[in-house]
């Protein structure tokens, strides 16, 4: 069984199409999305459609939640708020209804899936250090948890005596008595200084978890953003991956 997990597409159609093409070439049995399909990017609807068609489920991210709970948009940064308002104008009431059906948490096969930290998922905490990871580990029971939200691919492991360590490896061979919190990175707006789209493959036969990077047509995404008068910082961050 080969499972592909991705997150944080953020309306970047070129990145999503490149990732789906890559997945197509790798004999993947199932795809799941951890949320934030929309926000920032110019193509929220085509991205939602592709996710609906290809993913077994997609979770609610903070951007989807913000559309449903208007008051939270005020807490967003300027660029996020401007793009959120733009996104809102694109979506029909039917799409808003669909967003309201998205699950917050999925637990199956000894795996947990959640958009941000499993600790108070609706506070959308960023797991960027071992302290936050430890809180995260305290909030799920399975051996493995996949999470997004930070846009940074990283592996946190918890030993049987509850020592939490953050590392990165392109391929991880998980150990029997450890637990893992896998931050899968971002498809549409990577922030780890690598502009390529990022996703994860969990191979239960090989017993490996691999991070995959995919090149996509960044210039095309940028020209769409410019044409839509998006904030300049949104355009430039894509080519540097920040």
């Amino acid at each position: 069984m080969r499972l592909a997990v991705f997150s944080d597409i953020h309306g970047n159609l070129e990145a999503l199409e490149a990732v789906l093409a890559d997945i197509e070439s790798r004999q993947i049995d199932e795809i799941v999305s951890l949320g934030d399909v929309i926000g920032y990017g110019c193509d929220p609807i085509p991205c939602l459609e592709l996710v609906q068609r290809h993913c077994r489920f997609s979770l609610i991210g903070n951007h989807e939640a913000a559309l449903l709970e208007q008051h939270t948009i005020e807490r967003f940064s300027d660029t996020a708020r401007i793009s959120m308002q733009w996104t809102q104008n694109q979506l029909s009431p039917t799409w808003v209804e669909y967003l309201a059906t998205l699950p917050e948490f999925v637990v199956e096969n000894d795996q947990t899936f959640v958009h941000a930290s499993p600790f108070e998922p609706r506070s959308w905490r960023y797991i960027l250090d071992e302290f936050e990871a430890r809180l995260g580990f305290s909030a799920f029971d399975t051996a493995l948890c996949f999470t997004g939200h930070t846009h940074i691919p990283v592996i946190f492991s918890e030993s049987p005596n509850h020592t939490v360590t953050g590392t990165f490896a392109e391929t991880l061979t998980p150990e029997s008595d450890m637990r893992y919190l896998i931050s899968v990175g971002s498809v549409g707006q990577p922030r780890d200084n690598d502009p390529r789209a990022c996703y994860v493959i969990a191979d239960t036969d090989d017993e490996t978890i691999s991070f995959i990077r995919v090149v996509y047509d960044i210039a095309r995404t940028q020209s769409k953003l410019k044409a839509a008068n998006a904030p300049a910082s949104l355009v430039t961050r894509l080519e540097v991956g920040r």
Binding site: M1, D110, L144, P174, S176, D177, M178, T204, D205, E207
Partner: protein, 231 residues
């Protein structure tokens, strides 16, 4: 109609479909199944078919007759049992499929090699000692196992990565209780309970499988060999 597949070093050389009640097996050409190798006695063994059962009888052969790598003198066969005589393996199917009955088509030159025979006898002797020592069926720990022998002395033996199971295995994607071995009517059945593809017998993924002597069980990354203690 019973079917016997004759293999020489894993290569199928003959398929026998028969309605006869009795087949003789041996080196000389007056046998029904001719195994041309000096490790095979002239009148090595007999296969007898009753209404519901097939029985293999060793004719006090020099090098012995084995069923699922267990030396026998007389043994009732179960479907897919493997009879080893010299370097030949005979697989028993109670019901033959429709199709050609095949002809004798021996290939290549056969070289007498008693090394395998010696190994088989040695292994059989060891297994008998283990069974005698523990008084029943046993799992022999192979790759990544936490024990060298585990006696299957309960009706249900659980296998998985949880701390509370009887037999612990390695592998991250293995379930807490990935499988169980159930004893029923003198047989042991392996039943997969956890993630699919993680419970295998002789390299094949199984949901449930009645275990035979010398079956190789792999659960996650840990391997065991099943040694059947005759009841």
């Amino acid at each position: 109609m019973a079917e016997i597949i004759v293999k020489f070093e894993d290569k199928v050389i003959e398929r026998i479909v028969t309605e006869k009640k009795r087949l003789s097996i041996g080196r000389t050409h007056d046998n029904d199944i001719v195994l041309e190798n000096r490790g095979v006695s002239r009148k090595h063994a007999l296969l007898e078919f009753n209404d519901n059962a097939a029985v293999i009888i060793d004719n006090e052969s020099l090098n012995g007759t084995f069923v699922n790598n267990r030396k026998i003198s007389e043994e009732v066969l179960r479907p897919e049992d493997v009879i080893t005589i010299g370097k030949y393996a005979l697989v028993y199917h109670p019901e033959a499929e429709e199709g050609n009955t095949g002809g004798v088509s021996f290939e290549g030159t056969m070289v007498l090699n008693t090394k395998k025979q010696k190994e088989l006898l040695e292994k059989d002797k060891l297994e008998r000692q283990i069974v005698a020592k523990f008084g029943g069926s046993v799992l022999i720990g192979e790759e990544n196992a936490e024990f060298s022998e585990y006696v299957l002395d309960r009706d249900v033996t659980t296998i998985g990565k949880a701390k509370f199971v009887h037999v612990r295995v390695k592998g991250f994607f293995v379930a807490a209780i990935q499988a169980k071995i159930v004893r029923e009517n003198g047989q042991f059945e392996l039943v997969s309970l956890g993630r699919s593809g993680k419970t295998k017998v002789n390299g094949e993924t199984v949901d449930r499988r009645v275990l035979r002597n010398d079956d190789l069980i792999v659960v996650g990354k840990t391997a065991f060999r099943f040694i059947e203690g005759k009841s």
